[in-house]
């Protein structure tokens, strides 16, 4: 990946709040990250960590209300996406920023043919005629590896299997040759063999088309497989950010370390039990004034309750939001001892 290139997407201090009956929920708290052209950025975190909400906020896909974008900047090609009118946002969505969602079984409209659904953005954004769009849709289906594409354009979503539908979703997302593809847990709902196929397909497509990809997942195995760089999210904020090899080799944030411990290993000695991270992620009623991971952290000390740590550099291209200094290059499985 070209290093030092201007980011295609630059997110600064993004804050998203949901208004609910029981008060505000601060789902995204001052999230900042940059996406370089052609890069595959993995975003990991458990359910409720704010990964999906962050990405939906970027491009106005959250219903407002109940959501409210309370601050920050999303710079895409010199424009702040949080300030542009809806119309401009719609012109970018599907054209320069593509989306693939988690559940392919429900993400396609059941009453329209797959061809119609692929052709829709082509006709709207690229101004293609019906025939041009159909031709392009056929190419796209071939690109994502659906056999007999010309005939399958006339089929409805229910005539496709889950994996095939996800391929269709990818074809829709790629239709207008986007600069950025946001994939929100695209393989989570698929079984393992299909998951592997989709991963292979994505790797291949990225090489061929050269777009930047944000890949949201809670599966660290997937991240290890495809990502260039990783964001670890917890409690609506980015707690650690590093190139993929660095993150797996030298995790700094206690949450990342704990997360890595939860992955069962095929090699090495068999352990007694899988590690779990005790407790639940917090539901933030207000912008956090302390470290959101403090209650579940084995290294927490009194400062963690007073201040919310900011991200600080801990290595080349690597930063973490923690006051605790992790001993470098320690093996992952360390004793659970509280640091005084």
């Amino acid at each position: 990946m070209p290093d030092g290139a201007a980011p295609v997407l630059d997110v600064r201090d993004l804050k998203t709040v949901f208004h609910t009956r029981s008060g505000e929920v601060h789902a995204v708290n001052a999230v900042s990250f940059a996406l370089k052209p052609g890069e595959l950025l993995g975003v990991v975190g458990e359910s409720g960590s704010g990964k999906s909400v962050t990405m939906m906020s970027l491009i106005g896909l959250l219903p407002t209300p109940p959501a409210e974008l309370r601050g920050g900047q999303v710079l895409f090609d010199g424009e702040d996406l949080l300030k542009v009118p809806d119309k401009r946002l719609r012109a970018l969505r599907g054209k320069r920023i593509g989306f693939v969602f988690q559940d392919p079984m429900t993400s396609l409209n059941p009453v329209f043919t797959v061809g119609f659904q692929i052709m829709e953005p082509l006709r709207k954004h690229m101004g293609m005629t019906k025939d041009q769009a159909r031709k392009r849709a056929q190419e796209l289906l071939e690109l994502v590896g659906i056999p007999d594409a010309a005939r399958r354009l006339k089929d409805f979503p229910h005539q496709f299997s889950g994996g095939m539908r996800q391929r269709v979703m990818i074809a829709i997302a790629l239709a207008c040759d986007p600069d950025v593809l946001i994939a929100d847990e695209p393989t989570t709902a698929l079984d393992v063999t299909i998951q592997a196929q989709i991963l292979e397909l994505m790797k291949e497509l990225r090489e061929r088309l050269g777009m930047a990809v944000i890949w949201i997942t809670h599966d660290l195995g997937v991240i290890a497989e495809i990502a260039d760089r990783v964001l670890v999210m917890y409690g609506g904020q980015v707690v650690e950010q590093a190139p993929v090899a660095e993150l797996f080799g030298n995790p700094q944030h206690p949450y990342t370390r704990a997360l890595l411990q939860t992955v069962p290993s095929l090699t090495g000695a068999r352990e007694e039990r899988l590690h779990v991270i005790e407790g639940q992620p917090p539901i933030l009623r207000a912008a956090p004034q302390s470290c959101p991971f403090r209650d579940r952290c084995t290294h927490a000390f009194d400062r963690c309750a007073r201040e919310n740590p900011a991200r600080r550099p801990v290595g080349p291209g690597h930063d973490a939001a923690c006051f605790w200094d992790a001993p470098a290059n320690r093996p992952h499985h360390e004793p659970k001892a509280a640091i005084p």
Binding site: F101, D103, S107, P110, E120, P121
Partner: protein, 335 residues
């Protein structure tokens, strides 16, 4: 789809024959005497003669089969004759009303236009109002529009039509004098003024029934829209950069119409049934009123025929609803 439709139509034949038998037996069991309304001075033996002349002396299965023959053979042939000037039905006994001694089919043909105009128009208007209200209510859920829509629907659905009808008559016909309180069937529309009068006399019954229909259908529409607005494919459509108009009126509406079209289609037979109560309140002498008077007068052939026609329409529109369902929803295939 075609074979499915044909199969369903064939299956409808035994169903309808069975229904006609049930209706016939029920009416036969019902108490009442067709001569009861004749003057008391008529001696019993003459009454018995009258009953025999009406065919009541014969066993029930003979009467049933005779009615079937009259309804299924004589009446269609008669229609054919009047259309093409042929004489196939000559000498055949038609279904005769005991009240008026004229063919039941002719009376129904006379009454049909009033019902279709008043009740049919109210159904069309009700549906046309209900669909946009349902769509907007769902899209702007809990907005003031939705709240008012919910309130009006609740009133329209829960207050009976005989109450709203009488209320309208008292306010707009008696006190304000804007509309006539009685529907004049003999009124002929031959000039602009006559047309205006026709509109005025239809206004109140149509409003009462349209309110009722709109209340029901708009709630269905709203619920169906809400179901679909929360679906993942809506987010996909937005992520593709589609305008809200396309998202709501193409992607969501197309899905939401599937159950609503079924409800609308199943409601159509009730139009022909006439709004019995509303027709009574506004003195519209349509099919509903015809049925009521026939029941009062023990006019069995009339009641039997009308009820059976309703049954045919219900079976038919059930089939139409199923076929429409299959056409709108590609996931449903009948082959």
């Amino acid at each position: 789809m075609f074979t499915y439709t044909v199969r369903r139509l064939l299956l409808a034949i035994p169903t309808l024959l069975f229904i006609s038998l049930i209706i016939f037996l029920l009416l036969d069991l019902a108490p009442g005497d067709p001569t009861a309304q004749l003057p008391l001075t008529i001696p019993p033996e003459v009454r018995e003669k009258i009953r025999e002349s009406l065919g009541l002396g014969q066993p029930v299965y003979v009467r049933y089969l005779l009615w079937l023959k009259q309804f299924l053979v004589a009446e269609p042939l008669h229609v054919f004759d009047t259309m093409f000037g042929t004489g196939f039905a000559d000498g055949m006994q038609r279904v005769i009303s005991w009240q008026t001694r004229s063919p039941v089919a002719d009376i129904i043909a006379q009454r049909m236009p009033q019902t279709l105009w008043v009740v049919g128009l109210s159904y069309v208007i009700g549906t046309l109002i209900a669909l946009p209200i349902g769509i907007i209510s769902a899209y702007r859920q809990y907005s003031w529009f939705d709240q008012i829509g919910a309130l009006v629907s609740m009133i329209g659905y829960s207050v009976p039509t005989f109450f709203t009808g009488v209320l309208l008559i008292v306010v707009f016909a008696v006190n304000l004098g804007w509309f006539p309180s009685i529907y004049d069937t003999t009124h002929v529309v031959d000039s602009w003024d006559a047309f205006v009068f026709q509109v005025r006399q239809m206004a109140m019954p149509v409003f009462v029934l349209a309110l009722y229909n709109a209340a029901q259908i708009s709630r269905f529409m709203r619920a169906s829209m809400l179901d679909n607005l929360a679906q993942d494919y809506v987010r996909t459509a937005r992520a593709k950069g589609m305008s809200e108009k396309v998202v709501v009126l193409l992607h969501v509406l197309r899905n939401s119409m599937i159950p609503v079209v079924t409800v609308i289609a199943l409601g159509v037979p009730t139009i022909f049934g006439g709004a019995i109560i509303t027709e009574q309140v506004f003195k519209v002498n349509g099919l509903g009123q015809l049925l009521i008077t026939a029941i009062y007068a023990n006019d069995i052939p009339m009641v039997q025929t009308l009820t059976f026609i309703f049954a045919v329409l219900i079976v038919l529109f059930n089939l139409i609803a199923d076929v429409l369902y299959g056409m709108l929803d590609p996931r449903i295939r009948y082959d």
